[in-house]
Symmetry: C2
Subunit: 321 residues, 2 copies
């Protein structure tokens, strides 16, 4: 039986070339070189499988985030869908603007208005009701530009990277400013990442027994923002060890990449640069979403890999079914 195992191990690498949607070049080589380095036993850079932790931002790193975070589009759609139950919304901001289709007006209230939208669409329901609502939305809503379901606006080259890392013994996590309960509805199907490997922003849940049935109710009693300095905090709380590989796309990921690369031994940090106005979007320093300035300025000096979507990716999204 030993012979079978050896035969399998010998043929496995020949089965498929990794990262087929990545153009050949130094960045693709750098990724493959890093993975080969940390997985080759007996070398100084070898990392035990248990410590092969890879963390990925979600918005703008694994799926698109324009013209605004998809979770915000969900909140807007949800406000419209439940407006009949809330006649008072016609006279109250930010709901009145949302119902008039004036997104800019709805967002004019800043954080305070946003919090009201979250309260109306994310709190006061059980975790199971929330999951069902998001799941319904994903199955019917379509992106205004591409016409695709939102959970099909995921990046084919990143799917291949996730898979390639897992084939090499990595455990892949999402570490995102997005809502943990929101992401968990689709990430297992979309990325092959189970719910227990999702780190995200969250509002508190409260345990209650309603008519003998235990439920978790989403509340605004407290919250955690998994962004910027919050990302290493979320990683420590949830994973409990420092990643050796991290990928992001905005300055909200800076601290995650900094924390990852400050560890001993071989480390890899990667920034997806949105520079493809034809096939996706082009934005960085001046963007209201996914702003990327410090990462572009300091990343290369820190040895981080900046990936050009335009030059390095053969495809953006998976082929439509």
């Amino acid at each position: 039986m030993k012979r079978c195992a050896i035969v399998i191990l010998l043929y496995l690498p020949l089965l498929a070339e990794p990262l087929p949607s990545w153009n050949p070049g130094k960045n693709r080589d750098a990724i493959i070189g890093f993975v080969e380095k940390v997985t080759t036993p007996g070398t100084p850079d070898f990392v035990e499988p248990a410590a092969r932790i890879a963390t990925f931002d979600n918005d703008g790193c694994l799926w698109s985030e324009q013209p605004m975070y998809f979770q915000l589009i969900y909140a807007i759609d949800r406000i419209k869908a439940t407006a009949d139950e809330h006649p008072e919304w016609k006279e109250t901001e930010p709901f009145a603007s949302v119902l008039k289709g004036d997104t800019k007006g709805a967002l004019a209230g800043g954080e305070k208005g946003l919090l009201k939208m979250i309260a109306a669409t994310h709190a006061g329901m059980t975790t199971e009701e929330f999951r069902a609502a998001v799941s319904d939305w994903l199955s019917t809503a379509r992106h205004p530009k591409t016409g695709r379901p939102y959970n099909e606006m995921i990046y084919q080259p990143m799917l291949e990277l996730l898979e390639y890392l897992r084939e090499n013994g990595f455990k892949t996590f999402i570490v995102s400013g997005g809502g943990i309960d929101f992401m968990r509805v689709f990430v297992e199907d979309a990325y092959g990442i189970p719910p227990e490997q999702v780190v995200g922003s969250s509002i508190a849940a409260k345990y209650e027994v309603r008519d003998g049935k235990p439920v978790l109710v989403k509340t605004l009693d407290s919250h955690f923002i998994d962004d910027k300095e919050g990302k290493p905090v979320g990683i420590h709380q949830h994973i409990g060890r420092r990643p050796i590989f991290a990928a992001g796309n905005s300055d909200g990921d800076f601290q995650m990449l900094e924390y990852t690369t400050a560890g001993d031994g071989a480390r890899f940090a990667m920034i997806v640069h949105h520079d493809d106005a034809d096939r996706e979007w082009a934005y960085d320093r001046d963007s209201h979403i996914g702003k990327l300035a410090r990462g572009l300025d300091e990343g290369p000096k820190r040895g981080w890999t900046i990936v050009s979507m335009k030059d390095e990716w053969k495809a953006i999204y998976p082929a439509s079914e």
Copy 2:
């Protein structure tokens, strides 16, 4: 190569009888029966491997918890070890009592005093400093009754249960009122549970860059208590799906077992009953630690399995090395 796989699959069940330290009987049969039921494809109770989530309390369920929680013994030992740096402690409670060896006096201040002890021994240091301090302690401290290192006062039958579940495709998690950072120091070696599968109580961490080096500093800015109603909350936050198997030993685990068994399909809930004064400790309804009353009263009616350490376990701890 297909043949090799079939041969391996056929012989695997014969390799070893599961749960060797459990006496034959209805509870051992119930555990094995449950596992066989949820892992047999094509039956109504079959559960996909990804959903085979098992959660275990730690104190009193996987290791001992008498004469007091081992983490509290750590705090007391740590106060003594660092007293030279804090001359003011000689005059301040609860430290003065700790230094006089008067544990009862130290705990007389209730929650307020306890919080001071936690502040002095768990906060104000980086996560790496804390890990090093706990690791040092585990390697030198010995339990007053058994003379064992604390991380060798783990239950042999529970180690076998964890292993048996994992062999059957379960993912095993700790869900404990104990400190998440404290447990993560030893649980991987002790139980084969990696840090990312530990859910526990926690105090907030803060991200800082000190002299160019990123650190996480443990603070008392906020905290989470992973006990009672907090356990389903911690499970949802961390794992994101409901366990199908849960084990505890005290009423602090009641809600975890209630939440677990309220899900659809086959579920298993188990309570370890400390009734073995000779080989371990005997305590339940009137205990100041690990109080178990509601679980004994309601558990059997709810179909939960009450395990007698005295009658069902052939051994308590692993054989000493």
